[in-house]
Structures are given as structure tokens and as C-alpha cells.
């Protein structure tokens, strides 16, 4: 009995070993790994799609050979045709699996990014943490450029974003974009890039209304923005009273706390109270920290300045009717009968009060 079962079992198992290797292998040398994409308008209604992929050379002798960036672009009518058209140019199979960065020209972003992001999020091979960014000027030019620090523009950009996510700039990627886009009472934001000679610069925070790019906040305001957006560590902020006298502050921690009085005082509109506790130390200073510039006075001056800048920034966002800070979503979490429409009407005149407290721990190693 046992043997009569065992024999056919062995045969089945042996046969099933033949099933392996049925899937087409993909060897790294024979495929093109797309690492960055760029989208521009071409003439009026045509689309210029650009991809870059690294080409690795064999090292001939000593030393490491830097990979070269291969840039290909095509003009198409619709975003979905780009990969199709690129196939006709490339001698190797194009694989999207290692996409790091996707760039969109500000004009494209102004017409709505969702249709482009949808292509990325539908593909199971593409990481949900892919960096998205808006470019001032041509996305293709950025991808085509040769940069001093890294010969691969895709890696350069992705390192740039990752570094900034840990300092003054809030973290952005496809996940945050989709999160903010689909969330109630919040709007997405992305970094805004510009090519400057041998470097790429983040010049600000691109603001969206829905999925449409409308305006941007300059990079100098990024610290204020991040302070109002989330709790974080490690940012730098410069307080300058005059051109010659300035103090640069490195922050150790910034803690944000949202309080919403759901019914407000008159029983109708909510009051939003944002209180921020900054904890930092003096990093650079152009003058002695005495008298008018003593630590105590400095703390007060800083708090006042941050509070003023924060209030101005929020006012600006309210005027633009976009809510990248997610204030609406905070109100929603306090209000049981929160409605999207009512909030939208109320937001431009919303009563938002910001309070900043600054504590400076030390002034470095000299007096």
C-alpha cells in the first residue's frame, strides 16, 4: 500500500521540478532600468516624455568606472504612450522597477498630476516611495544635465530629496502625495526644482489645489512650513535683524500641537490653535550674545519672529485656498459633524492662532 502511493508521488514531484524556469529571465545587462522620468509639454498639446537609465561599463584596468546616464525622450500625444514609443528607440527591454524620481514640468502640474501619478501607482513594480517633484523650466533639461556631484542624475536627485527630508524640508514622495490628495481637508505639496549650472536646486515648495499646481513657497520659508506641518528634528533657521547682524539657530526638536475648539466662541466656527515648542541652540552668530542679543532676549525675538512668519504663511495659504498643512484634517478629527464643503467655504477666513515658544539650550563653545 505504502509503496504503491510512494512511486507515483515521486514521479509527480520529479515532473513538477521541470516547471521551474518557465518564466523569462531578466539579466541586468540586457534590460534598461528606468531610474528617472520627466514630463514636459511639447509645442501645445503634445507631450515630451524623458527617461534616464544608467549604463554600466566594464572597468578596463584599475579604478572604478562611473556609470553613464542614458537619456531618451519621445514626443507623444498621451502619457500612456511614452513607454510604448520608447521601446521603439531602445535596443533593450525597458523595466520601470527601479524608478527613483519622476519630474513634472510646472505647466503639466498646473493641468493636474493625477493622470500621471495613476500610471505609477497602478504598476506593482513601482515603489510607493518614489520621489515626485515639479520643475521650473524643462524637466528634460534637468535630466539631460551633467552634474558635478553624481554622474547619475536620478541618484543625485533621490539623495537630494532624502537629505532634505531629514532637515528643513518635509518629506514628500508618491505616498504622501496620494495620501494628501485623497484625504479630506488637506492638499498635496511637492518640492519645486530648478537647474542652476552644475547643480539642481530645490527652490521651494510647490503647492497644489487638488492635483493642480497653483503656486509655491520659497525655500527660505521651508523651515516655517515644516514647523507648522509636523514635529521634527534638525533644521536650521536664521534670524537677521540687520544685514550685518544675524544669528543662525540649529533646532534640536520642534514639537507641534494642534488644538481645535470645535464650536468656537460664538458657537459656529471652530478656532484652531497651533502651539509649537522649539528647542535649539545657537550655531552661528555675527555678534556677541550680550545685552540686546543675550540668550533670553534672543529666545523672545526668535519666538516673535517665528510666530509672525508662521501667521503670515498661513494667511498666504488661506488666500490661495489651499491647505497643504492639513489644518482641515485636524479640525475633522475634533469635529463629529465635519463636512468637507462647509470647511472649504470657511477655510479662507478660518480663525487660526499660532503660538511659538523657543528654548535655546546653549550658545556653542564660546561666549
Amino acid at each position: 500500500m505504502q509503496n504503491s502511493i510512494r512511486q507515483p508521488m515521486m514521479i509527480i514531484i520529479l515532473i513538477s521540478l521541470c516547471l521551474t524556469g518557465c518564466v523569462k529571465p531578466r539579466i541586468i545587462d540586457d534590460i534598461r532600468l528606468v531610474q528617472a522620468r520627466g514630463y514636459d509639454y511639447y509645442q501645445d498639446h503634445l507631450l515630451l516624455g524623458t527617461i534616464t537609465s544608467p549604463i554600466f561599463f566594464q572597468s578596463t584596468g584599475s579604478g572604478i568606472v562611473q556609470p553613464k546616464s542614458d537619456v531618451m525622450s519621445v514626443v507623444v500625444k498621451k502619457a500612456t504612450e511614452i513607454d510604448n514609443q520608447l521601446e521603439s528607440k531602445s535596443e533593450y527591454q525597458i523595466e520601470p522597477g527601479k524608478l527613483l524620481v519622476s519630474l513634472y514640468n510646472s505647466k503639466i502640474a498646473a493641468d493636474g498630476l493625477l493622470q500621471y501619478v495613476d500610471i505609477l501607482k497602478r504598476n506593482p513594480n513601482i515603489s510607493i516611495l518614489t520621489n515626485l517633484a515639479v520643475t521650473q523650466g524643462s524637466a528634460r533639461e534637468i535630466l539631460q544635465g551633467h552634474y558635478a556631484s553624481n554622474s547619475l542624475v536620478s541618484e543625485y536627485l533621490s539623495d537630494l530629496f532624502n537629505k532634505h527630508a531629514n532637515s528643513n524640508f518635509p518629506q514628500t514622495n508618491m505616498h504622501t502625495f496620494l495620501y494628501q490628495f485623497s484625504g479630506d481637508g488637506m492638499d498635496p505639496f511637492l518640492p519645486l526644482l530648478k537647474k542652476k549650472d552644475k547643480h539642481i536646486q530645490i527652490i521651494g515648495i510647490a503647492l497644489f489645489k487638488g492635483d493642480k499646481y497653483i503656486d509655491y513657497i520659497p525655500y527660505s520659508q521651508a523651515f516655517i512650513f515644516k514647523m507648522l506641518y509636523q514635529s521634527f528634528r534638525k533644521g536650521t533657521y536664521t534670524l537677521s535683524s540687520t544685514v550685518s547682524k544675524y544669528v543662525s539657530i540649529e533646532n534640536i526638536s520642534s514639537k507641534i500641537d494642534y488644538r481645535v475648539i470645535p464650536q468656537g466662541i460664538n458657537g459656529h466656527h471652530p478656532i484652531i490653535k497651533i502651539s509649537i515648542k522649539q528647542n535649539g541652540y545657537v550655531k552661528e552668530s555675527s555678534s556677541l550674545l550680550q545685552g540686546k542679543y543675550s540668550m533670553i532676549n534672543l529666545q523672545k525675538a526668535l519666538a516673535k519672529k517665528l510666530q509672525k512668519d508662521g501667521t503670515l504663511l498661513v494667511k498666504h495659504l488661506q488666500r490661495l485656498q489651499t491647505d497643504p498643512l492639513g489644518i482641515g484634517s485636524h479640525v475633522r478629527s475634533f469635529q463629529r459633524n465635519w463636512s468637507k464643503e462647509a470647511w472649504k467655504d470657511y477655510y479662507p477666513d478660518a480663525d487660526i492662532r499660532i503660538k511659538v515658544k523657543v528654548t535655546l539650550k546653549h550658545e556653542g563653545i564660546i561666549d
Binding site: 502511493i5 508521488m9 509527480i12 514531484i13 513538477s16 516547471l19 518557465c22 518564466v23 523569462k24 522597477g97 527601479k98 506593482p124 513594480n125 515603489s127 510607493i128 516611495l129 505616498h175 496620494l178 495620501y179 494628501q180 485623497s182 484625504g183 479630506d184 484634517s329 485636524h330 475633522r332 478629527s333 475634533f334 469635529q335 463629529r336
Partner: protein, 370 residues
Amino acid sequence: MASEVKENKKVSPYLLYFIIYGNEIGIGIINYQRAITNSAGYDAWVSILIMGLVISIVMWMTTEVLKDHQSDLITIHKRLFGKWLGGFLSFLISLYFLAITITVLNTYVLLIQVWVFPTISYWEVSILLSVVALAYINGGLRSIASMSFLSLIFSIPLVLAITAPLSHLHFDNLLPLINHSTASMFAASKKLAWNYEGISILLLVYPFIKETGPKDSRRQWIFYATSMATVGYLVLYLITITYFNPNEVDKYLWPTMTLWKIVDLPFMQRFEYIGITIWIFIILPNICLSLWGASRIFKRLFSINQRLVVSCFIIFINLIGPFFNDQPRLTLWDKYQSICGLYEILAYLPLLYLYNLVHKKMRKSHAKQH
């Protein structure tokens, strides 16, 4: 009596924990978040707790019935409903187990086709899995139980992977607490029945569990397994709903897989490939136990060799499976199957318990009269 199980085929009571847990955490965990968020929004975590409680009660009822009869489903059916009706009900339950097998297998094959190998054919995966399942089932319940144990061990990397998004959670999403109607929460609970439908295997496994010592520890292990499965579902749901936006969860067909996508290891860009591979060990207990259950009923009903039945079932599944190997058809299949599961767990098992109570009273009064 035919239902007596030989001592050397029995398993220790603690293995019941792995059997039940392995059957409760199955293929459903890959996308249950979507269905329940559809009904109850971000408050669906309450539904998970409700369902965990309901399942515990149903399990308690089932063990009561089993304790009374000290036998398995076929004997219980025969005693309560007579030879023909009882036999027919057992036959239906057998088909139900077979349907569960098809659901699990097809979902897994589709998962591989969508995420890893778009060109792979149904047979290539299904035959491989069937052969493995056949080998385990031929080893009897003892080997299936051991494999359920291994399944839990192998799934530890998956649990660790879920910790990746922990620093990016927005707990605001859960506020204001309980802002949905009770009806919608119960509707979400109903959708969870699909995840727990494997539990009726207890009706067949019960006689295989050893009774050790004066205290019957079987019920205790079942309770532990159900609680742990519920906690598992709850934690994963809370992570999903706070990492993604509640409005967004609906757009992902497999939220758990998308959560794995954010794991970024230096040597591995795509964790979901590892995840899907390890997933085999999570669905194997499901497939093995349901196939074993289906064939066990056939064996007891018609006195056929169980190995022969299993082989026939496997051929049958591999023939019928490809028909449901695309998204729209599988969704339709799942829909009807989950309705079956819902009635089986929430209507049939409690009814069996109540009927058994009435039957017992009647027997007692009958005995008194004579």
C-alpha cells in the same frame, strides 16, 4: 465504531492552537481592510473586535456540541438529523470546504500573476502547490498540524515587515472615535466572516485531539487562537488605516501588499516578492486543512480511501480553478463564497447548537418516560 480515531493518529491539544490560528489567518488578511473600510470607514476596527467576540461565542457553541457527542461532524449530523438528511448536510459541508480550497488557491495564484510573474500560467503554480498539499495530507492530520506550527514560525518575517511604516502613522485618522452608525459597523463585521470561515474545520479535527489530564484544555487553546487572530487583524488594520488615508485604502486591491512595498532593505528593493513567497506557508495550512476536511467527510460518508478522494479533489480543483483565474470572476466567486461562509458560521453553527440543546432535552424526557 467507525468514528473512533486511533491513538497514534491523535495530536496534542496545544497543536489545536496552531490549527485554528493557521485557518483563521489566511488569504483574507491580504485585503480585508478594503472591504471593511468601505462599510464602516476608519471605525472598522470596532467591527474587528465585534467579529472576534462573535467568533469566540460560535467556537464555544461548537465545542459544546462536540463535547456532548464526543465525535465528529458526520456522527453528529447522523444522530441529530438521521441518516439521509444528516448525510446530505455533511456532503454540503464537504463541498463548502472544497470551495474554500478553490478560493484560497485561486487568490494566491492571481496574486503571483499580478505582482511577480505576469506571464505564469495557472497550472504552474496550482500543480506545484497541490503536490505539496497532497504530500502533507497523505501524512495525516499529524503532519498538517506540524505544518501549521511551522507556518506560524515562517510568518515572523512578515510580522516584522509590518513594523516598517510605524514611524509614518497618522493617528489623527482614527478621530473622532466611533463616528459611524452601528449598522455600518455590523455590516463591516459581516464582511469579516470570510476571513474566519476556516473555523468549521474544528468539527472534524476535534476527535483527533488528545485529552490530557482531568481538565479539558482543548477549549482553552481554541480561545487563545481566536484571540490572537483577532488581535493580529486589529493591529494590521490600525497600521493600514493610519498609514494610508481612510479614503485611499479603498483604492488598493491588496492593502497589505502595498504596505510591504515600503519596506526598504539595502539588499532588497522589493520586499513584497519575499512576502509572497513566504505567503505559501500561510496558505498551505488553509489548503491542506480544507482539503483534508472535504476528503475526510467523503471517506466517512462513503467509506472510500481518503487518499483516493484527495487525489480526485486535487484533479477537480485544477480543472475548475483556471475558470476563475481572472479578477472579475474571482471577485464574483468570492462574493458567493463569502455569503456561504457567513451563513455557515453565523447561522448554521449556532442553529446546530440550539438544535442539539432541544434534541438533548427531548432525549432526556423520552428516557424518563420509559
